[in-house]
């Protein structure tokens, strides 16, 4: 058993991949709690795709990819926030237009490069085995920033997610908080880019948080549980990908989806048992 766990660790890249996966799992899942409580799954998916041109341009001019992604991500998050406040279009329509247009621009730019196919698949599905020591610092630094911000505004974000009217009546800086959350989601996406890539980002944001919501009904516990589920799923997924030789990002997502399904089925099975128990008692 131990050998099985330790064998991959003889490689430096596996160590870095494990660290990156674990950190990504924690950060995505914590922000993911807000994403699902506020019904922002579509926004998260869109934002992940929207940053593609930023990544490609950074790649073409030789900047760190995270810088390009961060700039485009933050601009897009704020832009969508402003667009949907004007109320001329439904929010999901506005997001949809920016989502598809920006993604197309990114793919078009990338198609000018000769290694197009390989590069695109790495950006779409991640390449956690290629994480460098420098990438780890970026992931750790940005991740810490996100977690500290969530901690600092924990109670304000809770009010905003539960009852936005109360946030206004308590004179909380509601607009500032709303934009801050959008920016946090953008930063989180950049953190997770290397690990899962653009196309599967949504799973990191939504699945562990949704699993945690099935298991607890307190906000802080939901965050801790989601973080644990997210990071353990990612680590497990990485081992699975090592041993059965499949792509690592999809392996992680498949593990967390399996965890979700298991929890979902166990819970509905237990509920049915309890209902049957009640019926039996009532009949007796």
């Amino acid at each position: 058993m131990f050998e099985w766990l330790l064998e991959p660790l003889q490689y430096g890249f596996m160590w870095r991949a494990l660290l990156a996966s674990a950190m990504t799992g924690v950060i995505c899942s914590v922000i993911g709690v807000y994403v699902i409580l506020q019904g922002m799954a579509f926004f998260g998916d869109a934002l992940a795709h929207i940053i593609l041109p930023g990544i490609v341009v950074a790649y073409l001019v030789g900047w760190p990819l995270a810088v390009g992604a961060l700039i485009v991500g933050i601009i897009a998050a704020l832009g969508i926030g402003a667009l949907s406040r004007r109320g001329e279009l439904r929010e999901d329509t506005a997001i949809g237009i920016v989502f598809a247009g920006s993604f197309a621009l990114g793919v078009a730019l990338l198609s000018t490069v000769s290694t197009y196919a390989v590069d695109l698949s790495h950006i779409l599905f991640g390449n956690v085995l290629a994480v460098s020591a420098q990438d780890l610092w970026v992931i750790g630094g940005l991740g810490l920033l996100v977690l500290l911000t969530v901690g600092a505004f924990y109670k304000e974000f809770m009010v905003l997610a539960f009852d936005a009217t109360l946030a206004v009546v308590l004179r909380l800086p509601a607009t500032f908080l709303r934009y801050l959350l959008l920016v946090l989601i953008a930063v989180t996406i950049v953190v997770a880019l290397q690990t899962v890539g653009i196309a599967l980002m949504l799973a990191m944001l939504v699945t562990p948080a949704a699993t945690a919501q099935l298991l607890t009904r307190r906000l802080w516990r939901m965050m801790l549980l989601a973080a644990a589920i997210g990071s353990l799923s990612n680590i497990t997924g990485l081992y699975v990908s090592y041993y059965i030789n499949i792509a690592s990002g999809p392996a992680m997502v498949l593990v967390m989806t399996a965890v979700f399904l298991a929890v979902f089925l166990l819970r509905s099975g237990r509920n049915r048992l309890m209902e049957n128990g009640d019926t039996a008692r009532n009949a007796a």
């Binding site: 409580l37 109670k155 009217t165 109360l166 206004v168 004179r171 009904r217 307190r218 906000l219 939901m222």
Partner: protein
């Protein structure tokens, strides 16, 4: 911004709890409220009635400072609503996602977040306030219960406890009795009366004219403009109701007086936050 200090705006004890002076609210070309003026004194309890889309929600949003009047002024104890954290807002229960991961205690603590201020955590005093508020609505034994497990009446009491924990002096309640059974309704009413005795001022939107007339010393009848305001027997007459409800009102002669039928089965005309 007020929440950085956690202090309420100053109150002028001589000024009325709430006053509206010629308030008009427009959304684009649509006039939701026009030239509304009234005064509520400390401890007053007023029901707000009117047909769907009459501007009840807009009125509440203007009082709470959620929408700014296009013209006119709203004053709470002598100053505009923007800096007051003493306005308690009890939303309609169906506007809340009750699957939200919070205990009863957490939900009531949310009312104190204005006073606590940014970058601070609840201290012992805050927790005592929350427990005191829960005790006042007879919910202390359910403090650790997830809010998703509560009945309709219990949900409503959580909101009232939240307003109590907030130390709200002006309470806006949006259809608080809708969908509640008679005992729950009575329980809520008793709590409201206790609050008023302690100096809170109430503004309650309801679609139920009979309830408004029987339960509240003051009734405000609106349909975009303020049609009548005063004691129920002066406000709820067939003449004023006819003006408020127009063709949607049917007055049927009954054994004792008149029977009034309106179409306001459900609340509507809601305005999104901001």
């Amino acid at each position: 911004m007020n929440s950085f200090t956690g202090n309420d705006a100053p109150h002028d004890a001589q000024a009325p709890a709430l006053s509206m002076e010629h308030v008009t609210v427009r959304y684009g070309n649509v006039t939701a409220l026009e030239d509304v003026s009234f005064i509520l004194r400390r401890g007053d309890q007023a029901a707000v009635v009117g047909p769907n889309g009459a501007g009840k929600s807009t009125l509440f949003n203007a009082v709470a400072g959620i929408v700014k009047p296009t013209q006119g002024r709203v004053k709470i104890y002598g100053s505009g609503p923007d800096r007051h954290i003493c306005i308690g807002y009890v939303p309609q229960r169906n506007r809340i996602d009750w699957r939200f991961p919070a205990s009863v205690f957490d939900a009531v603590m949310m009312g104190r977040i204005g006073q606590i201020g940014l970058f601070r955590w609840p201290n012992r005093k805050d927790r005592e306030k929350v427990r005191g508020a829960l005790a006042q609505v007879d919910m202390l034994d359910l403090a650790d219960r997830p809010i998703g497990d509560l009945s309709g009446g219990q949900q409503q009491r959580v909101f009232l406890a939240r307003a109590l924990a907030q130390e709200a002096e002006l309470l806006l309640l949006d259809e608080p009795f809708t969908g509640l059974d008679e005992p729950s309704r009575q329980a809520i009413l008793t709590i409201l009366q206790r609050l008023c005795a302690a100096g809170a001022t109430l503004l309650v939107a309801t679609h139920d004219l009979q309830q408004a007339g029987e339960l509240f010393p003051l009734v405000m009848l609106i349909n975009r403009t303020l049609i009548a305001y005063g004691p129920p027997d002066q406000v709820l007459t067939s003449e004023t109701l006819g003006r408020a409800y127009g063709s949607r009102l049917h007055i049927v002669p009954a054994e004792q007086g008149e029977l009034v039928l309106t179409d306001t089965c459900c609340s509507g005309g809601r305005v999104p936050v901001e």
